[in-house]
């Protein structure tokens, strides 16, 4: 199979999963929001979140571990870079009330103006950041 076809099929699965969660639980599949509700649990609003994340982590792990030729995670990125990036991603996702999944996959699918604005903004700063790190200052 061609790489782009596998990527497209993976994307369709992500969209199907988000649609299934909305249809069954009435919830938006925004990973940062789902995780936030596990870290700061509210009464009677935790089980579905843990179930979704456990399913996601286990399935992705099984795929990477057992499917021949599956992409494997990178291992050699500088640790301080991971810490700074993690802080910014966690803080920014909560401040914006969503990340690539909540605003990107679900919000754009709902044609939400807020999500279009968020996605345009984080794409722009991400492009600029990667450009600056890879092509400036060397």
């Amino acid at each position: 199979m061609h790489g782009w076809f596998v990527a497209l099929a993976g994307g369709v699965l992500i969209g199907l999963a988000a649609s299934a969660l909305l249809w069954s639980n009435g919830r938006i599949a925004g990973i940062s929001g789902i995780a936030d509700g596990v870290v700061f649990p509210a009464r009677n609003d935790v089980a579905w979140r843990i179930a979704f994340l456990v399913g996601m982590i286990a399935a992705a792990g099984a795929y990477m571990a057992f499917v021949p030729g599956a992409p494997t995670p990178r291992t050699d990125f500088p640790r301080h870079g991971l810490l700074i990036a993690g802080l910014l991603v966690g803080f920014g996702a909560r401040m914006a009330n969503g990340c690539t999944s909540g605003h990107g996959v679900c919000g754009i699918g709902r044609l939400s103006p807020r999500s279009f604005a968020a996605v345009g903004t984080f794409m722009a700063t991400a492009f600029a950041t990667t450009f600056a790190i890879r092509h400036l200052g060397n």
Binding site: N25, G26, T100
Partner: protein
Amino acid sequence: MQRSTIAALISGAIFGTGLAMSGMTDARRILGFLDIAGDFDPTLLFVLGGAVLTTALLFRPALLPARPMFAESFRLSTLRRIDRRLLGGAALFGIGWGIAGYCPGPALAGLGVGAVEALWFVPAMIAGMLLHRLSTKLSDQRLGVGLSS
């Protein structure tokens, strides 16, 4: 287990399969996409395209019933304003995403194989979420308004 919990588990498993299958758990792919001036890798465009086309098609019928299959009500964001919080948060998020190539889903998914980078990134991400909650609490207290988020 309740039916709603099982449905969430299955949804999560489909989501995780999609993430791993499309290579989103490999941050080199993400940075390859974000690096337009370098060796551009369009994979993410196909993933996001496939996902958004699917939600655009299926969200409408999913929202047609009066209530979700296994829950009381649909819980969609009621926020409408495009304000500084939304844009500032998205800007910070993009900078973090552009540094290491991880957003929350793929980073958490990496835990499934004990990926060493996920073990550094995820705790930092949770610390960032905590910091945000602390900072909104402090500013709400200073303004004398109730805790909203």
